[in-house]
Amino acid sequence: MEQTENVIEVRNLEINFHTYAGEVKAIRDVSFDLRKGETLAIVGESGSGKSVTTRSLMGLLAPNAEIKRGSIMFHGEDIIKKSEKDMQHIRGKDIAMIFQDPMTSLDPTMRIGMQIAEPLMKHKGLKKKEAIAQALEMLKLVGITNPEGRINDYPYQFSGGMRQRIVIAIALVCYPEVLIADEPTTALDVTIQAQILDLMKDLQNRIDTSIIFITHDLGVVAGMADRVAVMYAGKIVEYGTVDEIFFNPQHPYTWGLLNSMPTLDTESGSLSAIPGTPPDLLEPPVGDAFAARSDYAMKIDTEQEPPFFKVSDTHYAATWLLHPDAPKVTPPDEIVRRQTKFAAMQKPEAPIQNPSTKE
């Protein structure tokens, strides 16, 4: 893949939470890039640190969080070093966010037009009237029918799907460079989910924004993302393009995730779950954090942390299984099936991909 401009570069991020029980090491040495115009999905189960990671990009960590180490570069400046006042100028203007539950993320006592207009008045210095006029345009863009008639309505007068469209309108009204979507469809029913995802893709093209899409739903990822990072216990364990993660996964945790997702080929009764629970991040385990739940764990997994091994230029995974000396293991049947498909896909497509990579 050609090297495009990075909008955000996160390097060696470590975040701890101070709690009564001790220091919870929520983010442990996370690095990733967000490229211009792409959608990066961060996938992982609850508590894997995906939300904390993105909150740090907004400077919206809880008061008991402490950034131990690392940097978040945005426009050549480290966001971590910025003051609250400076962050206020970035939030909602350059980096915006969509939240999980549209039923509770709108102010129940403010007209939606005003809620959409607020960032414009704050960041672009618009007068109320101009801001409301732009809010109306935004309502049209996110597909609210009869926007003129509804701009003065209150949130309770809208359905969940419509409210999420309004939340999207608020996030995009200043045409941010980066949009962070924190499980934006989790609280919606499936048909509405599809509509919201289509809307987000459509708007991404129109206003040319990069999206960080957080989810635990791999089905959503497949249709939405360009690249995927899989997080487990505060670390990224594997990242690559959508095809690479879905069809050529290398980390046993990614295998487990894919194996627990139903597909059209899934035979009835063969859906599996990952046994066990994620580790306690008060005392993160030594070595590969997933070892305790993995069928493929080796002795070294409990002793030493695996580095990232390169699978391709765009695909890396942190598992000792990729070490040249590691024994060859056979992944679960479902994964083998995917990998065969991947190998078949690679060959005919190879000549088409080559010209673009030459530059």
Binding site: M58, L60, M87, Q88, H89, I90, R91, G92, K93, A96, M97, F99, D101, T104, S105, L106, D107, P108, T109, M110, E118, P119, K122, H123, Y154, Y156, Q157, V167, I170, A171
Partner: protein, 309 residues
Amino acid sequence: MRKYLLKRIFYLFLTLFIVATVTFFLMKLMPGTPLQNEAKLTPSEKAAILAQYGLDKPVWLQYFIYIGGIFKGSLGLSFQFSDQAVSYIIGSRMGPSMQLGGQALIVGIIFGIILGAIGAIRKDTWADRLATVLSILGIAVPSFVLAILLQYYLGLKTGWFPVAGWSGFAYTILPTLALAASPLAETARFIRTDMVDVLSSDYIELAKAKGLSKFGIVYHHALRNSLIPMVTLIGPLAAALMTGSMVVENIFSVPGIGEQFVKSILVNDYPTIMGVTIFYSALLCLLLLLTDIVYGIIDPRIRLSGNGD
């Protein structure tokens, strides 16, 4: 909305009727008579006076005569003040009471909101703890204790404010402060709890994500949402003020309704007791009705109109 209002007004009158009935019979159970120098009167003089005021009739008949009077729009004549109409007494003493009550409510609510908001925004800091201590004191210390302390220290010792009486704004300050303490404390506690809740809600998170300043978030989003439940507190606060005013008005010799009420009870001035009670009840009922209407105006979700859900 109109139907709702009519219904509420009907209930208002029903409530007042019940209050009048209960008060009437309770009052008759009080010991003593309205006669001041009972011992010096001959039985025939006594009988003549009682007959003049209709007190010789059976209690149930007195009750019907009184209620009948109310329906004709009359609260009767005072025993104590050479046959002044009770409505006139209430009217002439309403000014000071309303002024004190109003001032105390405004001072209490405004400073209560500020104190509560500081507590919520600076949660778990020394400012929050100070605000909590102040509001606990405000609730725990009765208004008459505070009134006497204010009178002694700010009135007598320093001479900054007049000790008692009623001739100008300066005279209203100490009684207002004494009265305001309790609503201030109640408001502060209420707002703090409420705003802590609101500040941790998702829409405040979204407001932060918009890049709004701390002040902008509190002013545009948190305050309004915290104030809505606060409106329901205004009714009970007003009730507390009325009872507080009886004591405070007496301590500061304010010629208000509360002071009159206490005097009337001491001399068994039946028509005045009844009149003031009904007046207080009516005021409270009206305030509660007003509260509900205001609630609808500031919270769009419960606006009583056809198109809401």
